[in-house]
Symmetry: C2
Subunit: 392 residues, 2 copies
């Protein structure tokens, strides 16, 4: 008898022992706070669009919560990344290092700058950019010319690196910052998934030159859409605000814009929702951590799979709860996805590696042994913060 | 005594005779319909983000209202233009014809495609792209090579033209369509300002290959932010939806994207507001037309200035009511702006010509005598639809 044949059903049982029979979405928002009040206030003010007090407040609240000196609210996380890369000096013909194992937005933002993504491997511990193999790779394949890191093979400047805090688990940021320093790279953190996650008490997204957040509907908090740029460089924050608001120069009535800017400002309506959600974030984080503990207990006796825990020295927001199949069971990933989804529990695999997608198939890439393994073994399971308050 | 010295105060008096003493904004939204009901329904559903029934409904409602076969809702009018230009085949190194007298988004969308705006003149009658001088200009400065319109001077392909319906007044669309046909150009209508405006009973934005709408807070109706792409080519509509939703291929759980797409989908929260607003559009249009009539009567006896009326054969939404100073009084524009704003009536000039802005100063341009004259003579006055219901 094949011991493995029961793994999909074992996983279904373990999940249901925590969250009940479902049906359950992967991640649903919760609106138990001032959402109504603020949306109504916003409508009554008639300031629903790109100017309004909730946009300013949302930025202040985000800066306070994350400890960033400056937060600039934009329409979504993709726009935040695009602008951060532009402001980091990423230009047409540059290369930008990013994990092959990330959401499409990270790579697309590079493409919007007419730059080329250069994919690197991930670490199993964090699911994010691996600092050890990265340093070795850069030492071998790049050289510093005129203060720039140059890819020996393509001759192009590698301008920046964009580690992403996968599912809320922080990357090994201090080692990556050291690499950025040693190889003359700008470091932009894609913190779209890690609002509330910290390393040594410092919020993700505040370590590099800039960090970016997302408030899409599936995130820990949502503004309908929405994103933000975090930075500790106040001048850079002002630049970010300028180019996300069409680069218009302030004037009593004249319409003069001084560079090619973007219409990326978050509407006040969305910011109103974001403000109400942000007030509840500490509670959501407690509930999500509680859910992790419940899942961890439920999976303690399920052989062949374990729950991904926050890396040592960091605190994860546990945005998406993540199962990691043992290597021997990687072949059962799709059977697990089918069994769970068939039984009303929404689950999903991690993203296809970026270098497998047709538009990035010819982009440069480091060897990706860990990312390729993780791609076959990661499964996200129902993770809504509301589930963490349900007794098992 | 200088007869002209009273023009600013004459204008203040004429405006106040219609709308009262103010203070008044240039254009405020009105939320007297189902805004609150739909926003609550949206929150209660928890579908506030990029998936939800209001997004689908908003698209259906827009298609019904405009008569377009397909409407795709996006985050704003700039995003709509960007995608429309991409889908029209605008590529890096191309040129795109647009009026020098337009909002910055028209030019920026061209720049996002790494193409170059090529500015052309406007007609005093419509305030939009002038078909007469355009045909003459193209006949002289371009040639058709391999089925493409080529700028003789730069050698670049002129791929498309983007007329914009200024302040809601339709351009001379049939003459422009004939030019597009004769010179092998794609025609994209920037209908950001002209929701509700028609030519011969057909809605603006539905004549060219694609048209784009905006629902920014200052527009006739608002979704907080928001925009849409209109097209009568259903396949093109599907393409627009695909690349505005990250080009993800439908699958039960896999994340595979087949091209560089955009995160441009309108959130359901904003669509809920848009649906409620669209229901009220016919009433808004009546009120705005009524306001035009009241202003026209009030300005009938003010020498040196007149109100811009819809071009013959078309129906304007009268988004922004527009004063046009006689050429002899162009020098008084800033005095009028100061007098009106100082007395609590928000007014503004038209945009600075695009070719005056630093990032577009080196773009190719036709002679712009009419646009240069209009730039000095146009003044928008308080135009909220709510003002049209106030007795003078």
């Amino acid at each position: 008898m094949d011991m493995n044949s029961n793994l999909p059903q074992d996983i279904v049982r373990a999940i249901k022992s925590v969250v009940g029979d479902g049906p359950l979405a992967l991640h649903e928002p919760r609106f138990n706070g001032n959402e109504w009040v603020y949306l109504k206030e916003c409508l009554d003010s008639t300031f629903v669009s790109s100017v309004g007090k909730f946009v300013d407040r949302f930025e202040d609240d985000l800066a306070n919560f994350t400890g960033a000196k400056s937060a600039v609210a934009v329409v979504n996380g993709t726009a935040a990344l695009h602008v951060a890369l532009r402001l980091a000096g990423v230009e047409a013909g540059d290369e930008v290092l990013l994990p092959a194992l990330t959401f499409i937005a990270t790579a697309n933002a590079v493409a919007y700058c007419q730059a080329t993504p250069h994919f690197v491997d991930s670490a199993e511990r964090s699911l994010g950019m691996d600092s050890v193999s990265l340093r070795e790779y850069l030492s071998t394949f790049t050289e510093i010319c005129n203060g720039h890191c140059v890819n020996r093979k393509t001759g192009r400047i590698i301008r920046a690196m964009v580690p992403m805090h996968t599912f809320g688990h922080p990357v090994d940021i201090s080692a990556l910052l050291a690499i950025a320093h040693d190889f003359h790279l700008q470091l932009i953190e894609d913190a779209a998934e890690s609002l509330g996650s910290t390393v040594g008490g410092q919020h993700t997204g505040t370590f590099g030159l800039m960090g970016t957040l997302s408030f899409n509907g599936n995130k820990t908090i949502t503004a309908g859409g929405g994103g933000a740029i975090l930075t500790n460089d106040v001048e850079l924050g002002k630049r970010a605000k300028h180019i996300t608001t069409t680069a218009k120069l302030p004037h009593r009535w004249n319409f003069v814009h001084d560079e090619v800017g973007f219409n990326y400002r978050l509407p006040n309506l969305n910011a109103a929702l974001g403000c109400a959600q942000l007030e509840q974030l500490p509670g959501f984080l407690r509930d999500k951590r509680c859910l992790f503990g419940q899942y961890q207990a439920a999976f303690a006796n399920v052989a062949g799979v374990h729950l991904v825990a926050e890396p040592t020295g960091s605190s994860s927001n546990y945005w998406l709860q993540t199962l990691l199949l043992d290597a021997a069971h990687a072949g059962q990933r799709d059977a697990v996805l089918a069994a769970t989804n068939d039984s009303g529990l929404m689950t999903r695999p991690i993203w296809a590696l970026m270098n497998r997608l047709p538009m990035y198939a010819n982009s440069p890439s480091a060897p990706l042994p860990v990312a390729e393994s993780l791609e076959q073994r990661v499964i996200n399971i129902p993770s809504s913060s509301g589930l963490g308050t349900v007794a098992p």
